[in-house]
């Protein structure tokens, strides 16, 4: 029995999400009495996954698969799952994995549970805890098919090292022309920037910052902390910041360890999207802002005074704790 993981890479290097799904899958495999197999695309150092408990990696080296393509990847991953007789497939909840998983579910005739936040409550029947109602509740879902697909929420499990000797082999999937009927024309992505999906820490700004010209101190804080930058909906609606930074119910979900909100009042739609962040800090001059009810720590005051001071102190802290 194998638990198969889909491991994401960027420029040939595994993303943190790949190590997290490996760590999680190892625990699931131990519960079920099996091993973890990984499938990767154009990974430079496939055996690196052994550190997180993976026993075997099937690496697909194919220039046509250099860029993510949901249909082609679904075809390839399902061929690996069938070859390996995998009973559980685990993916992250990145934009690409969420694109891939439902296609894979139909290919493998497998039930799919998304936004899973914990190891299975039981493996027979296979029941997982997932977040629902935009983080306002949890839902225990039983997957009744022979093959199960689990979409693991980012940072829900964390990384667990489990040094294992990983064997690696190349795998060549049989691809059809139809796999490439959606063409990726161009990718527009900030280089060397932490994305909201991968970030441990997210620093977010709202309307209280008064204009896009004031984002320097937000970006500075993000730099100091190695964090991703984000924003509230009005800020992206007004075009102060790009859409891809909008977090909230209709934007991106945040599940980072730390979320720092500056000048965001905390509309219910915003809070719904960031509720899964573990620790929430709010800096706002209005003590009645609803965000204070949702936050763990708060500072009431003028962001334009507090943030630059906090940045200096964070720099000192980082210098001492580097």
């Amino acid at each position: 029995m194998s638990v198969l993981i889909y491991t994401e890479t960027e420029d040939g290097k595994f993303k943190k999400a790949a190590f997290e799904v490996a760590s999680y899958a190892k625990e699931v495999a131990e519960k079920m009495g099996g091993e973890v197999t990984a499938v990767s695309f154009n990974a430079n150092n496939a055996s690196e996954l052994g550190k997180y408990g993976v026993s075997k990696v099937l690496n697909i080296q194919n220039d046509k698969l250099g860029k993510f393509n949901a249909e082609a990847y679904a075809d390839a991953v399902s061929q690996v799952a069938q070859k390996e007789d995998s009973k559980v497939v685990v993916l992250s909840q990145s934009a690409n994995s969420k694109y891939l998983a439902p296609l894979l579910a139909v290919h493998l005739d497998a039930g799919y549970a998304s936004n899973v936040v914990d190891t299975p409550e039981s493996t027979d029947p296979f029941t997982v805890k997932r977040s629902a109602f935009t983080n306002k509740a949890f839902n225990f879902t039983k997957i009744t098919t022979e093959v199960k697909i689990v979409g693991l929420s980012q940072n829900a499990f964390g990384l667990k090292e489990n040094e294992t000797e990983a064997t690696t082999e190349d795998f060549s999937p049989e691809l059809k022309d139809g796999d490439f009927s959606v063409n990726v024309e161009s990718v527009d992505k900030a280089k060397d920037k932490v994305t909201i999906a991968d970030a441990e820490i997210v620093v977010s700004g709202g309307r209280g910052l008064k204009g896009p010209e004031n984002w320097g101190m937000i970006e500075e804080m993000a730099d100091i902390l190695g964090a991703a930058t984000a924003c509230s909906k009005p800020v992206s609606d007004m075009g102060w910041r790009p859409h891809s930074e909008h977090v909230g119910q209709t934007g991106k979900p945040v599940a980072s360890n730390l979320y720092i909100a500056v000048g965001i009042s905390g509309a219910i739609q915003h809070l719904a999207g960031i509720n899964a962040a573990k620790t929430k800090v709010v800096i706002n001059n209005d003590p009645e802002a609803p965000f204070f009810k949702a936050a763990d720590y708060g500072v009431v005051g003028d962001a334009f005074e507090i943030v630059p001071k906090l940045n200096e102190k964070l720099k000192e802290f980082k210098a001492k704790n580097a």
Partner: protein, 248 residues
């Protein structure tokens, strides 16, 4: 062009989320239901195609009679026909199969569904529907243009966006960006009156299997009080984040 927009009937954002029957069912008591926001962006884009390029727009929901006001609202916004598949929505796969039947029967060129519903947040129906129809699929779509039988789309990815092209038939997992919030239409009286006369066809469901079952629900543990830090004492905040929350 024939467009089908899949409409999920969901509690509005401000609803209190409670459960009944030993935490096994969502408590609909006092809950106001609306068109799923991600679907509404798609519906509004569909209306744009109808007005600017000429298209017919059908809306479909898988659900029992209580979802009809939500479909009527979609008709009031401007959809031409509504279809309700008369069965409760049980899981993403069951819904996708019911929608696939409607989509095949109607021979649509473009099918738009929201990237996820705001209740179960499954995020699987559009992709499963595309796979069942063997149609092209673009998820988290934030821009869509159609020229003849070719679609140009932009998809949101982590940290940026991606431009794609695909031929029709196409299934879209839509979200904000397809249109902006300010483009959303509140039905006017004329629209509401017309919607009453538009066809709402109730069709029998297919006999299909489910793959998952929601067994129970749980609410998150109540959160403690916020700890306020004096703006003159930001060292305390750093100390709390480091030693108490272990977040930095």
């Amino acid at each position: 062009m024939k467009i089908l927009v899949c409409i999920s009937h969901v509690p509005d954002t401000t609803s209190k989320i409670n459960f009944t029957d030993g935490d096994s069912k969502f408590d609909t008591n006092g809950v106001n239901f609306v068109i799923n926001p991600n679907d509404e962006f798609g519906l509004t884009r569909a209306m744009w195609f109808k007005e600017k390029q000429g298209a017919s727009v059908d809306v479909v929901n898988v659900g029992e009679k209580e979802t009809e006001p939500t479909l009527r609202k979609a008709l009031a916004i401007g959809a031409d026909n509504a279809i309700r598949v008369d069965t409760p929505a049980k899981d993403g796969f069951q819904v996708a199969q019911q929608l696939a039947k409607v989509a095949k029967d109607g021979d649509y060129d473009l099918i738009i569904a929201g990237r996820e519903s705001i209740d179960y947040n499954g995020g699987m129906v559009p992709g499963m529907l595309a796979a069942l129809l063997d149609a092209n699929f673009i998820n988290t779509c934030i821009s869509l243009e159609i020229d003849g039988d070719t679609a140009k789309a932009v998809r949101e990815i982590d940290g940026g966006k991606e431009s794609l092209t695909a031929s029709l038939p196409l299934v879209i997992g839509g979200q904000k960006g397809l249109v902006e919030e300010s483009d959303l239409k509140i039905p006017n009286m004329r629209g509401i009156m017309q919607a009453r006369k538009k066809p709402l066809n109730v069709v029998e469901p297919e006999e299909v299997a489910t793959q998952t079952e929601a067994v129970k629900f749980e609410k998150p543990a109540p959160k403690g009080e916020v700890k306020l830090v004096d703006p003159e004492n930001l060292d305390e905040l750093i100390d709390l984040l480091h030693n108490e929350a272990k977040a930095i």
